[in-house]
């Protein structure tokens, strides 16, 4: 096949690191949520790439589950963000520090 698996892995790593980057640099909870989506997608790319590498469907099926999990996660995450917004009138994660020492 034409495109070597390394490239996909590189793409996946790049996406994942961009997700991490977002988590590290932004303070908006919604951005967090999106960054997490990016990371999950990076993982999915990995899974699918390896599925093709080995000619085995396991990776694809698994990434399907990951999508389902992502949907669930987003649902809960949205709920949390809304509560956050209601309690702090803001979605800045640095303000929600009630659980700090």
């Amino acid at each position: 096949m034409a495109v070597p698996v390394q490239w996909y892995l590189l793409l996946s790593a790049a996406m994942f690191c961009i997700g991490v980057f977002g988590v590290l640099t932004r303070r908006n909870a919604l951005l967090f949520l999106m960054s997490v989506e990016l990371m999950l997608n990076a993982a999915n790319i990995n899974l699918v790439a390896f599925a093709r590498l080995w000619g085995n469907l396991t990776g694809q099926v698994f990434s399907l589950f990951t999508m389902a999990l992502a949907a669930a996660e987003v649902a809960v995450g949205i709920g949390i963000i809304l509560v956050l917004y209601r309690n702090f009138s803001d979605v800045d994660v640095t303000r929600a520090t009630t659980m700090r020492w």
């Binding site: 096949m1 034409a2 495109v3 490239w7 996909y8 793409l11 790049a14 996406m15 961009i18 997700g19 980057f21 977002g22 640099t25 932004r26 908006n28 919604l30 951005l31 949520l33 999106m34 960054s35 989506e37 990016l38 997608n41 999915n44 790319i45 699918v48 790439a49 599925a51 093709r52 694809q60 990434s63 399907l64 999508m67 389902a68 992502a70 949907a71 987003v74 649902a75 949205i78 963000i81 809304l82 917004y85 209601r86 309690n87 702090f88 009138s89 979605v91 009630t98």
Partner: protein
């Protein structure tokens, strides 16, 4: 198969670029839109990886479900945007939290 390689490079650029846009945009709304672009380009990668069904699912679940949820949330929490919760109520709830 040069065409495939070129396609990969192209869509990889789109994916990474839009992903970077997601984390670097100042406005959350733009971020959300760019996230949609990124997710769609990932679906293209899936097609190239012989995972057509997954690509369909990606579009259905992510772009159709997750992204809609996120944009909805963005609209709900934007300052001065749509009145999701009355600010006074929120304030009361904060007080409740402190007292309880």
């Amino acid at each position: 198969m040069v065409a495939e390689t070129i396609a990969f490079a192209l869509f990889a650029l789109v994916t990474v670029g839009s992903a970077l846009g997601v984390v670097l945009m100042e406005d959350v709304w733009h971020s959300a839109l760019l996230l949609g672009v990124a997710l769609l380009s990932v679906a293209v990668h899936y097609v190239m990886l012989q995972a057509e069904f997954l690509a369909a699912m990606q579009i259905l679940v992510y772009v159709g479900g997750v992204l809609i949820l996120i944009t909805f949330a963005v609209m709900l929490v934007r300052r001065g945007g749509v009145e999701a919760d009355a600010p006074t109520d929120s304030q009361t709830d904060v007080d409740t939290e402190v007292d309880a």
